[in-house]
Amino acid sequence: MNYLNIIVPQSATTNTLVDGLPITATNFVAIGTSGYYGVQVAMTNSGAHKVTSSRPAGVEVYGFGIYDAYGYFGGVVK
């Protein structure tokens, strides 16, 4: 299975979309008292995926198979 872990400021939890579809805000969990919230999203289709949000989003992309795994971060800005 393949997944995205998405981390956004609390204000963006109601305005974060994966492939144009909103993430249910109640699926987000608080990352401690950082003011950021995170969610795990299972990706059923392979290939390109677009994550958009009203605020910059931290995105971990990863997948697990039998005896295998891969993972990387969506991107970094200064």
């Binding site: 295998d68 991107g75 970094v76």
Partner: protein, 362 residues
């Protein structure tokens, strides 16, 4: 690409929110490849395994240079049945001249006798001619130089690289020196911007007691892009938690780690571990180049007094799924909080990753 055992399919995945055209060159192999990427799409470019660095402690010409008309993201994938890995390639504007390496020890030949050596390793790519690269090995690196040379001390040494040249160095294999070697904490400095990559060609996470091994590799962020806070959430399906490594660039860095922290793991009498955890804040003080490892379940906050780099590792699959064998180690370097992209165009693999043909599991 770092050395890999096996027969991997190498590719670069290039994406753009707005669409772009560009060129990929590997001057050392005479390869020039024009590419287009549509808005919101990912272009997949296969890379010959000839671009893989197979030698060590010598200058090679395997640097891959990508230019594009608009901003793109570049992801590298090594897809190899039971031994895949990926990393994010940073733009030259993010590169620097001062790196403190985050890597991992390799699996040991004592635990995993595959008939070949396994290494903790790092690699450097120069972006400009006559880059003088200084490498200061960490106390655990025990770098293995060619021709009888080795760099098992922490004495600095230098390499001069031309644009596009690459330099890879491995730790000694445990079979050679009887120790568990790890290039983590090695300093790589240069008078011109360089790209640095590090990991291990096969590693067990957190250690050999938790099968099985998988390659780990991530491009490194220069120290000036490290921050004082990093955040993460457990990988899905990994209910017993993930392994994290916190690395400090400066001495007396105090790190507060808050989350459901695993305090004990026991495999006694069962293939399923008994995991004990506690919601708490752990305070850690790291010296320069020193790292601290722990396992956390669910959300976690790393808050530090000085810049840190945090790596998020998936633990060996048997830790959570000893019956299905789903999962293996992987590594993701976490950028500091807030240094995130506005729009992420990413790719995922097919859900049958990997196929389940016959072969030897690693």
């Amino acid at each position: 690409m770092l050395t890999s055992d096996g027969d991997p399919e190498l590719s670069l995945r290039i994406s753009s929110p707005v669409g772009a055209s560009g060129t990929l060159t590997i001057p050392g192999l005479g390869i020039t490849n024009a590419f287009m990427v549509a808005a919101g799409a990912v272009t997949n470019i296969s890379i010959t395994s000839d671009a893989m660095m197979v030698d060590y402690d010598t200058n090679e010409t395997y640097g891959i240079h990508i230019t594009a008309s608009r901003s793109v993201s570049v992801y590298a994938l090594e897809f190899d049945r039971w031994a895949s890995a990926a990393f994010t390639g940073y733009p030259t504007t993010l590169l620097g001249t001062n790196y403190c390496v985050m890597a991992h020890a390799s699996a040991t030949s004592e635990s995993y006798d595959f008939g070949f050596n396994m290494y903790s390793q790092l690699a450097v790519v120069a972006t400009a001619d006559n880059a003088t690269v200084t490498i200061i090995p960490s106390a655990t690196a025990n770098l293995d130089g060619q021709y009888g040379t080795n760099y098992c001390s922490t004495n600095a040494y230098t390499e001069t690289l031309q644009q596009g040249q690459t330099y890879q160095i491995n730790s000694l294999d445990d079979a050679d020196d009887g120790g568990i070697n790890d290039v983590t904490g090695t300093l790589v400095k240069s008078d011109k911007p360089i790209a640095v990559f590090a990991g291990a060609d096969l590693a067990c996470v957190p250690d050999d007691n938790t099968p099985y091994a998988n390659p780990l590799v991530q491009e490194q962020l220069p120290v000036d892009l490290w921050g004082t806070q990093a955040l993460a959430l457990s990988f899905a399906g990994r209910t017993n938690g993930d392994s994290y490594r916190v690395l400090a660039a400066y001495s007396n860095t105090v790190v507060a780690i808050t989350g459901d922290i695993v305090t004990n793991v026991s495999f006694e009498g069962s293939m399923y571990p008994t995991v004990t955890s506690c919601n708490e804040t752990v305070m850690v003080t790291n010296q320069a180049g020193q790292c601290y490892d722990l396992i956390v379940i669910g959300p976690v906050v790393f808050q530090a007094s000085q810049p840190i780099q945090v790596a998020h590792f998936a633990i060996g699959g048997e830790y959570d799924h000893p019956s299905s064998h789903e999962g293996d180690p992987c590594e993701i370097l976490l950028p500091p909080t807030g240094h995130y992209l506005e729009t992420n165009i990413v790719f995922t693999l097919t859900n049958d990753l990997p196929d389940k043909s016959t072969g030897t599991s690693i």
